[in-house]
């Protein structure tokens, strides 16, 4: 299973957001998408998910044009983790995750024992079993994000697209989410995520891509893409990329903003 976009133009009926995006995601790969606010990350994701029709080019899901696939067939291949949000009705975490099984259910069916088990397994994998019967709207932002990821796992898709999965999370929860993303990739799931923290690309990504004004500015390994020059062009501020020696041994690349005078 792979996800491939070729020369993709995307946007809304009366507004073009981006164009010329060619992108591929292989199984077990984590691709981190960076881009400033309004650069079109969410719109691109929605187009890849088939929620918006492409304005140009094609989205291929496992080699088939997304426009020819029915909704539930797409959902069995790609799951979506939107930004953490409130629900309109007070479903429990278990009920919310169970909704991830929808694409595997017949039109008139309700979840079976197997679906309940799959949902519970996904909840346990995200380490939130103690919250299963808590009202989803009453859990914290981090737990809410973990519940949404659990729902995507219950969907059993081979590709997961996550829209800023670390937004609004405290530092510990950010790290926990990134760790789980690596675990998923280890199981052969392809993960495409967006983030506002360039360090996350170094921490969890196999490849990084930069979306600038609707165009793919750079795409490659994190060390290739995440250069001071590229980051300055992307965000319009001076950023140093430097290797830090860890006391445990080895080095890590980190991004540091330079413009803050003190």
């Amino acid at each position: 299973m792979s996800l491939a976009a070729t020369n993709l133009g995307f946007g809304y009926r009366d507004r073009r957001v981006g164009s010329g995006v060619t992108l591929e995601l292989a199984p077990g790969e984590v691709l981190c998408l960076l881009g400033p606010n309004g650069s079109g990350k969410t719109t691109l994701f929605k187009t890849l998910l088939g929620l918006l029709p492409p304005q140009d080019g094609t989205v291929l899901i496992d080699g088939r044009d997304a426009r020819t696939l029915p909704r539930d067939a797409i959902a069995r291949q790609i799951s979506y983790v939107p930004q953490a949000h409130g629900a309109f009705f007070p479903y429990t975490v278990r009920e919310l995750v169970l909704m991830g099984r929808t694409a595997h259910l017949g039109l008139f069916a309700a979840p079976s024992a197997r679906d309940h088990a799959a949902a519970m397994a996904a909840i346990e994998r995200m380490g939130i079993a103690h919250l299963a019967d808590t009202i989803y709207t009453q859990v914290s932002g981090g737990e809410c994000q973990l519940a949404l990821i659990a729902r995507a796992l219950a969907q059993e898709a081979r590709v997961v697209i996550m829209d800023e999965p670390t937004a609004n999370l405290d530092f510990g929860n950010q790290v926990r989410v990134l760790e789980r993303i690596r675990t998923l990739a280890g199981e052969g799931i392809g993960v495409l995520l967006s983030t506002h923290d360039p360090d996350h690309a170094f921490l969890c990504a196999d490849r990084a891509a930069m979306l600038h004004e609707g165009r793919l500015m750079a795409c490659g390994t994190p060390t290739e893409v995440m250069t001071a020059v590229n980051l300055r062009q992307l965000y319009g501020v001076e950023i140093a990329v430097t290797a830090v020696a860890l006391t445990q041994g080895g080095t890590r690349n980190v991004c540091l903003p330079l413009g803050i005078a003190r």
């Binding site: 029915p70 959902a75 069995r76 629900a87 309109f88 009705f89 009920e95």
Partner: protein, 344 residues
């Protein structure tokens, strides 16, 4: 797996059994109470005889009251209450808003225009009911077509706006016909119809309205899981594999069929479709596969109870629409003030 087997589940089996028991008691009281009181024992014997058992050997008046007068009325109340509550529950999920009632897409306004036009033209009762049914269906169809024609906005918002706008236009049409109607014959009939009543229900009505209501309930029940998912954000529901446009149409068709059939035989009865799903959600949680049956049972029981009051608390019939508002409003406010929130 039975969902009651889930630890921490909200024991839906128990709630449904309790609701059924309460409904049976309310129905028994409804049969017994009235200008001609009937003992529960006599009631059971008449029903047993009607079912083909031993002859009851009672005063034939009792049989007439049970089978000809109160029977159809109680069954009509059950059907109308259940339909309005089920349609309300479905719409609240569909529009992701607990303050939505089955009237939101103009079904009652359309039915009112149909019925009022029928009365205005001095048609017979069957024709009036048919026009009410057709008016309700036509109004919602028109709202849907108008909303589809407006592109580039949130589809649900456009649908609600189209419903509100068309509803007030149809309301103006009703007002015009009231103004033009004969004030001695037609105007009282129009006013009476608009206030809602089950006093003139005929057993034959039930054979038409009943199947229509069941036909409307069927898609709501079959699609119960998809309807749950539909209560999330639209794009999220689609990403989870739901063909939202098609499911939405099926829900609107089902709910409209139920509401139109209900309004056609009872006139306009407000509050049930708004308040009852609220109470049901408090008992069951938001899961539609539990919410729908409990809404149906509570709606049926509530309208039988209110209709029994309507015909027994005063020497004249109290209009149902008035009574549901008098009872529904304080219940609703009490629930708002005390209960845990059933929505966000």
């Amino acid at each position: 797996m039975n969902s009651s087997g889930i630890p921490g589940g909200r024991a839906p089996g128990l709630i449904i059994v309790a609701a059924i028991l309460a409904l049976i008691i309310i129905v028994a009281i409804a049969f017994s109470v009235g200008r001609y009181p009937i003992a529960v024992g006599d009631l059971l014997r008449v029903i047993w005889a009607w079912l083909g058992g031993a002859a009851h050997g009672l005063d034939p008046t009792i049989e007439t009251v049970v089978l000809q007068i109160r029977g159809p009325r109680v069954i009509a109340a059950l059907l109308v209450g259940a339909s309005l509550a089920a349609a309300g529950a479905a719409y609240q999920n569909l529009f992701r808003n607990p303050l939505v009632s089955p009237d939101i897409l103009g079904v009652s306004a359309g039915a009112a225009v149909g019925a009022v036009l029928g009365i205005f033209l001095s048609l017979g009762i069957v024709a009036i009911q048919s026009m009410a049914l057709a008016g309700g269906l036509a109004a919602v169809a028109l709202v849907y077509v108008v909303a589809r024609a407006v592109r580039g906005h949130d589809p649900l918002l456009v649908l609600v706006l189209a419903g509100v706008v068309l509803g007030s236009l149809l309301g103006a049409f009703v007002a015009l016909m009231k103004y033009l109607a004969d004030p001695y014959n037609q105007l009282p009939a129009i006013t009476f119809w608009l206030l809602g009543s089950l006093a003139s229900v005929d057993p034959r009505d039930l054979w038409i309205a009943g199947p229509l209501m069941l036909a409307g309930l069927l898609p709501l029940w079959l699609l119960r899981w998809r309807i749950n998912v539909l209560s999330l954000d639209d794009e999220e529901a689609r990403a989870l594999g739901v063909a939202t446009v098609r499911i939405r149409v099926a829900v609107i068709v089902g709910a409209t069929l139920m509401t139109s059939a209900a309004v056609a035989i009872s006139g306009v009865i407000g509050w049930i479709g708004l308040v009852i799903p609220h109470f049901a959600r408090l008992l069951t949680g938001p899961d539609f596969s539990r919410l729908l049956p409990v809404s149906v049972l509570l709606g049926a029981g509530f309208l039988v109870a209110v209709d029994t009051l309507a015909r027994s608390i005063a020497n004249i019939e109290v209009p149902l629409g008035v009574l549901t508002a008098f009872i529904g409003t304080p219940l609703f406010l009490w629930q708002l003030a005390t209960a845990r929130r059933s929505w966000q």
